[in-house]
Amino acid sequence: MTVTSLLQVRDLSKAFGGVQALNLVNFDLEQGELLGVIGPNGSGKTTLVNLITGFVKCSRGTVNYKGRDITRWAPHRIVCLGIARTFQMVRPFYQLPAYKNMIIPLYSPRVKKLAGGRYGSRDAVALDLLEEVGFERDSHVAYKVASVLPQGYLKRLELAKAIALKPDLLILDELFSGLSLAEVASIVPIIEKLRQQGKTVIMIEHRLKELFRIADRVIVLNYGIKIADGVPSEVMESDDVKKAYLGTEV
């Protein structure tokens, strides 16, 4: 079996008690793609991410990354392999300043390995990374304690924490939610830059307009089942998708 895709998800299913959150989901992801995952609330998008990243054990199915079966791997090992994710409900370390928040991902074995052993001060690297995601250096906002930062900055912090791990596959769970148009517009270039560096991105989103501008491909989930898979314009024409979002009236 030749393996060309970066990520292969086969028959992935998860049941929570009586609820089938995800049912036999299949898709491939190529290197360098930006894949959008959309669907109404409760369709299983976050569960999909949780299963891929190992935070939740699947009931059935396999996940293959770069040819290796990571289905049963522990979450921290999967991160060390090169998959980083953000959480929908951001959870920074509230009592620490923003740049100290970054120390924890920078402490991870993956970063140490990629840097070839111990390197200089993590503080400096943290400040640089934060600047890349939009923490203006001259406003000293990076020194502010996380509990006083507004949502826009917290989302950027979450993104920075994921980028700090130098992942090859970046999974963003509703990064744009709670952000203004201007804030979204300022984050999109950061994602574009990541793609130029060759990274692969999966984005779960509700903000379809912004997503469709940057996504190469989109899959649609509804009640745990994949109902569409293709380029954004095709997907939005599909009757199934319209029915899922709007109800039976089209």
Binding site: P75, R77, C80, A84, P92
Partner: protein, 334 residues
């Protein structure tokens, strides 16, 4: 004219927070004073105290070590209700090594610290994967069960314990070993907690999901924290075995579990200095109150409740704040 209370840093704090602190003796003293105080106090006081109060100071050092050990675990999200487990494990390890293998205290004490730490960590390994509450429950249960088991199986001397163990060369050695160990632990582990590793530990307490998401194996981190803490506790136990020249079931007594927690909570959880301060306050206090017997434990219990509810930062934070900042009334800007 309306006024409001404003809290700002003292001038001397602002002046001494940069390299310019080296410019003046006053600023250098401001910074070094709080650090030198315990060092000078612990190192120079003993010759001036009588035999009885030297014993008390030894007790202070031992309980401070246990309190520091508790504090490190608490900062990592593991609340131990059984410091007696670490203490007792170290005590018995030293006792056994000394009694059955005839090793000298200078060998048994370090060896017992390591051995005790390993055994405690292995015993607690299963609960590390579970919610924090399991850790508290199991650390409460194990010392008490161990007492019953020793009583039943009569191993290591059973109810009589092992006596006639070697002692350290002199009273002075005992006291200074304890005190120097305390100072090393206090400053050393404060350094550790301020380092990046310490940050990860504290992050663990806050949100272990985020730490896992950062690619860090949280169980490995927890094990490291547990090994460190239990080693400190085991060291304290091992030392006391050779001070009393005896080890028996009382080393797992509830007192060794409760007083360190009370000391840390009263002194200020989160800063090892608070734990030390708490021990310095509570141990002499309990000596003075020895007359009222069991009532002291009632007071510890009440202290625990009052402080954890009303003054959770503890005394140390309060002192620290007053040292660095002051309050004043200012007019409300229009």
């Amino acid at each position: 004219m309306k006024k409001r209370k404003e809290r700002i840093d003292r001038g001397i704090k602002a002046r001494s927070s940069d390299i310019f602190a080296l410019c003046s003796w006053k600023e250098m003293l401001y910074l070094s004073g709080p650090r030198l105080l315990p060092i000078i106090g612990f190192l120079l006081l003993p010759p001036f105290l009588g035999g009885y109060w030297q014993r008390v100071m030894l007790s202070v050092a031992v309980f401070a070590l246990l309190a520091i050990s508790w504090d490190i675990l608490a900062q990592s999200g593991m609340v131990s209700l059984g410091q007696a487990l670490f203490f007792g494990m170290g005590a018995y390890s030293a006792g056994v090594l000394n009694h059955y293998l005839g090793l000298s205290p200078f060998v048994t004490i370090p060896a017992a610290a390591i051995l005790g730490a390993l055994i405690c960590t292995i015993l607690l390994l299963p609960v590390l994967r579970l919610r924090g509450i399991y850790f508290s429950m199991v650390t409460l249960i194990i010392p008490i069960m161990l007492v019953r088991i020793i009583e039943a199986s009569k191993i290591f001397g059973g109810t009589e314990g092992l006596s006639g163990l070697s002692s350290l060369p002199s009273r002075w050695v005992e006291l200074y070993v304890a005190v120097i160990a305390l100072l090393c632990a206090l400053f050393g582990f404060r350094r550790m907690l301020a380092s990046d590793f310490g940050l990860v530990l504290r992050g663990l307490n806050d949100s272990d999901r985020s730490v896992t998401n950062a690619g860090i194996n949280i169980y490995r981190i927890k094990i490291q924290a547990l090994l460190l803490s239990s080693a400190i506790g085991a060291f304290a136990g091992a030392l006391m075995t050779h001070v009393y020249m005896f080890v028996g079931m009382p080393v797992f007594a509830l007192d060794y579990s409760i007083l360190p927690i009370a000391a840390a909570v009263v002194g200020g959880p989160g800063t090892l200095a608070g734990a030390t301060l708490g021990a310095c306050l509570l141990v002499p206090l309990s000596e003075v109150l020895r007359g009222i017997g069991g009532l002291r434990i009632v007071f510890y219990g009440l202290f625990l409740v009052i402080f954890i509810v009303a003054l959770p930062e503890g005394i140390f934070h309060f002192i620290q704040r007053r040292y660095h900042q002051f309050d004043r009334w200012v007019e409300v800007d229009k």
